[in-house]
Symmetry: none
Subunit: 224 residues, 2 copies
């Protein structure tokens, strides 16, 4: 299907994803550090690079920048749950998309496909979930064809949640990765933001379809 270069230092994740992607008919090469990845990319004409953020030596952002400096290869970033990674950082480094670990293979593959379609110029650089459309390049969101304007925090929250559909994020995790807050303390801030977001993107805010509450845990982006 596609030629994938996986840059990931954790051998477990590496093996798991390699296996999963190969099982879906992709050709996979892997590297364990940024340096090795860049070197390997020079020989392996990858269609897409799957890049972990936390790497020994030069980090993912830097690797991303260096790849971008020379090639147009698509890049999907992998971010660990605790990393304070957000949309702006990824955008600036030049990533095409990002996924939050733990990542399920089918989600990763969907992202790879989306990214490749985009790179091929198919006029669907958007992700569509039901009546909701997300365009990570132009940072626009539309519902049922009509564009909805989202303030920065709501947009970041939505992009973060939708980066891993189905995965549950606790309020604390969201505070860290979306808000970049580091204090521990309970706050209804996330709730408030979720409400405002729902009011704009849900057809029936009272029965949310996209941003779902997982009672006792946090929120999740659906539909799976």
């Amino acid at each position: 299907m596609a030629r994938v270069l996986l840059i990931e230092d954790d051998p477990n994740v590496r093996d798991a994803l390699t296996l999963a992607l190969k099982g879906r008919d992709h050709e996979v090469e892997s590297a364990t550090s940024g340096e090795e990845g860049l070197e390997r990319l020079a020989r392996f004409a990858a269609d897409v690079v799957v890049l972990d953020l936390m790497l020994p030596g030069i980090d993912g952002f830097e690797v991303c920048r260096r790849i971008r400096a020379t090639t147009s290869t698509s890049i999907v970033m992998l971010s660990a749950r605790g990393d304070d990674f957000d949309v702006v950082g990824g955008l600036e480094a030049g990533a095409d998309d990002y996924v939050v670990k733990p990542v399920r293979p089918q989600v990763l593959e969907a992202r790879i496909r989306a990214v490749l379609r985009r790179a091929d110029g198919v006029p669907s650089p958007v992700e569509t979930y039901g009546t909701l459309c997300l365009d990570r390049a132009s940072l626009t969101v539309s519902r049922g064809g009509r564009q909805v304007a989202l303030p920065p925090m709501e947009l970041r929250l939505l992009l973060h949640l939708s980066a891993s559909p189905g995965q549950v994020f606790s309020r604390q995790q969201l505070l860290e990765s979306v808000w970049e807050h580091d204090y521990l303390g309970d706050s209804r801030l996330v709730d408030a933001c979720v409400q405002r977001l729902r009011a704009k993107i849900e057809d029936v805010p009272a029965e949310p379809r996209y941003v779902q509450t997982v009672r006792g845990f946090g929120y999740r982006f659906g539909p799976v």
Copy 2:
């Protein structure tokens, strides 16, 4: 469709673009250095040359001049983001158009087509967005038929933004790629330039149609 000679030393970019262009029914030959490119051009009757700026040995500008010295083959320049590439310099060397890397295949193909049309004498070397017309060859901009004079920085900003319509650029990114500044620090410089640009190209500067603010993120070239 067309016969393309690609001169590019980075194997990744070369392979990626070769593949993409072949997929669009172009005949593609490639070379890894300026010397090889010139030699190959003598045998391969290319309609258009896609030329990387940073090459081992003689650089892209020089290659461009030498091609121009003997043939009228169209030339599209490829420039990496970090290169201190000046639009004016490129066009003075005789390039017909230029694209900033990372380049998406569809963008490159659009440029190739435009360049070829131009070479065929079709008078449509301009991109039109609503009432705004950009001519990357003559570096002129006109609004509603009347030409507007843009100072260098404003022109570069506009060309950069419009090279990827819809894509959101942060102020930091713009400082790096348009101004070639490398310091980190917040500056309202971009804002000011956007402001002056809007005053010249927007019909209603207070409700910008072409250079849009994305609050909390940066700017984007519309129209959506």
